[in-house]
């Protein structure tokens, strides 16, 4: 089953739309609560990143009875040093973003901790594509 969402740049107020929708679907499938939490937290972080650091983007969700796979794709500035970005506490968030309670540099490490598979393709000046999978 395939679903798509659009993420709008700077629209922090609507962050969490995709993760909430995914959550509802997984509850309907009676997926283990712990697994639901993992993917929801990971998608939420990636959503916020696309809103905060890129110019919005698209989310593609593919679901079957064994796993959920989510791709978050943006046409943003890209991540120059991915190893650095993956470190806990590393953040380039603007003061404005920090004011909204984001920018602790915990998003990417948090995603990594929660998913069973993570792949980040990024190119400076072109964009970032994050694929994550949680197995049921």
């Amino acid at each position: 089953m395939h679903t798509e969402f659009v993420v709008v740049e700077g629209d922090f107020a609507n962050a969490g739309k995709a993760s909430s929708d995914i959550k509802k679907t997984l509850k309907q499938l009676n997926i283990d609560n712990g697994k639901i939490k993992k993917i929801v937290v990971a998608v939420y972080e990636a959503e916020v990143n696309a809103i905060a650091h890129a110019y919005g983007g698209n989310i593609y969700v593919d679901l079957d009875s064994e796993k959920i796979s989510v791709v978050i794709k943006d046409k943003g500035p890209g991540i120059p040093d991915i190893d650095l970005a993956m470190q806990k506490g590393y953040s380039t968030a603007s003061p404005k973003v920090r004011e909204m309670g984001f920018g602790a540099g915990m998003g990417l490490p948090n995603i990594k901790n929660n998913v069973d598979f993570l792949d980040i393709k990024t190119q400076v000046g072109v964009g970032t594509e994050i694929t994550m999978v949680v197995n049921f």
Partner: protein, 457 residues
């Protein structure tokens, strides 16, 4: 499935229901459907919040209560009276008058429900301090919220604080006190005056416990009428009875929104009331969107228990009277005229030792099937059906929304042709004739509402 058994205090009288859909449209868990012209409740989705009762224009939604005469099955009859009960009466009626009249109605003892307030909050605070890893911890004070979390936010059940409600602690205390005085436990009957349906349901089938300590429930509106009538009859000639000194100022306002939170000491905690507000917030909690959250006091009714469906009078006025009473009490406590620590503290060890409830289990109403493959099939069907529906949420199919209809269809509780838009479509294609359409409508809306159509055909 015995574990899915849920006692519901809210019921719909089919003889009075006019099939207007107001309850269905306002139900926060989409638990109501219209069939044969009457509202019906999906029991596993209902959390007894009472929103349907509030909006019903015909009085068809009612709250089942025990027969008052059943108090006489016991030699010693204790009435458990919540502070919100007192708050309903106008200022010129004194607490001692209420105590006096309620005793004359047939009770041998009067005990205020919030007598155990400080012991309760002490136990809760201790539990939170010992369960850092389960934060945010969520109060189980409001039983509608407990049920809401079980059915709609099952991932949060482990965050619920598994401690008995104040009414149960107080009930345990009275029972202990009277038995210690030499009374046979079999002769003691405890009757709880309830402000809402959820509290009745909780008293009948407590979550996480095998049986209830409460012997009967009395609806607050019924009791209010009985007491007020007697007061009016007696005028100022009533026999004075000293109101008891069991409840403290903190106890009087425990049941108001913020009544629990104010007795805690956390950096990040919230007191939220009104079920839709609570649901909005829990959605965020479930997504881990709110960092460092420690404690949540959640109440299904606006203003807390004064907003309960069985209270009489305006909730803001009730709340104000409770605040006034608490203020008076607090002044006496400050002046040393009375103490915050009441007699109940002589039993604190016993109460603390027996304060835990068993495991609170999730009871998800969201799941389409236990088997993931079947659930997945149903989900696919739902998505397909949703594409065919008009998304007008017009209610004509007898479901609260197009989404709910799609789910009902996938679960074989409705059919696609229940949708009027689909019916017109089928008629155009000659797959359905007018008589058949009317037959479908009759199943949903009943003979009565369709009779003109049938006669004029």
């Amino acid at each position: 499935m015995s574990e899915s058994y849920f006692y519901h205090a809210l019921k719909i009288n089919p003889d009075i229901c006019i099939g207007c859909t107001r309850c269905m449209r306002n139900c926060p868990t989409q638990a109501i459907r219209v069939r044969d012209g009457r509202a019906t409740i999906y029991e596993n989705k209902c959390v007894d919040c009472g929103e349907c009762y509030k909006v019903c224009p015909s009085g068809a939604v009612f709250v089942a209560e025990d027969d008052f005469e059943s108090i006489y099955n016991f030699k010693y009859r204790v009435v458990l009276m919540p502070s919100v009960f007192m708050g309903q009466f106008p200022e010129d009626i004194s607490a001692s008058q209420i105590y006096s009249v309620i005793t004359q109605l047939g009770f041998t003892h009067v005990m205020e429900v919030e007598t155990s307030a400080l012991i309760y909050s002490g136990i809760v605070n201790y539990y939170i301090s010992q369960n850092e890893d389960k934060k945010p911890l969520i109060s189980t004070y409001c039983p509608a919220i407990v049920r809401l979390i079980q059915v709609k936010f099952p991932s949060l059940v482990d965050n619920l604080i598994p401690i008995k409600a104040p009414v149960d602690l107080t009930a345990m205390y009275v029972r202990k006190k009277l038995t210690d005085d030499g009374i046979n436990p079999k002769d003691i009957g405890l009757f709880y005056i309830t402000p809402c349906a959820a509290k009745i349901a909780a008293a009948k089938t407590p979550v996480g416990e095998d049986e209830s300590i409460i012997d009967g429930v009395l609806n607050m509106d019924t009791m209010y009428n009985m007491v007020l009538k007697k007061i009016k009859q007696e005028g100022s000639n009533y026999k004075k009875k000293q109101s008891a000194n069991d409840v403290s100022s903190d106890g009087i306002i425990l049941t108001l929104t913020n009544g629990e939170k104010r007795l805690t000491n956390f950096k990040k905690s919230f007191a939220i009331d009104e079920i839709s507000n609570v649901m909005e917030f829990l959605e965020k909690v479930e997504n881990d969107e709110i960092e460092d959250l420690e404690f949540l006091e959640l109440r299904a009714c606006d203003q807390g228990c004064p907003g309960g469906i069985l209270t009489c009078g305006n909730r803001f006025l009730i709340k104000d009277r409770m605040m006034q009473r608490a203020k008076k009490w607090a002044e006496r406590e400050r002046n040393g005229v009375s103490s915050r620590k009441k007699e109940i503290f002589s039993q604190d060890e016993y109460l603390i030792a027996n304060s835990q409830v068993g495991k609170i289990l999730p009871r998800s109403m969201m799941k389409l099937d236990e088997d993931i493959n079947i659930a997945f099939q149903k989900l696919t069907t739902i998505k397909e059906i949703e594409r065919k529906l008009p998304h007008t949420d017009c209610n004509v199919c007898g479901a609260p929304s197009c989404g709910a209809l799609a789910e009902d269809i996938a679960c074989n509780n409705a059919s696609l042709s229940d949708c009027v838009f689909v019916q017109r479509n089928l008629e155009v294609r000659n797959s359905l004739n007018i008589e058949e359409s009317i037959e479908i409508m009759k199943k949903i809306w009943g003979e009565e509402k369709l009779k003109e159509f049938i006669l004029n055909k």
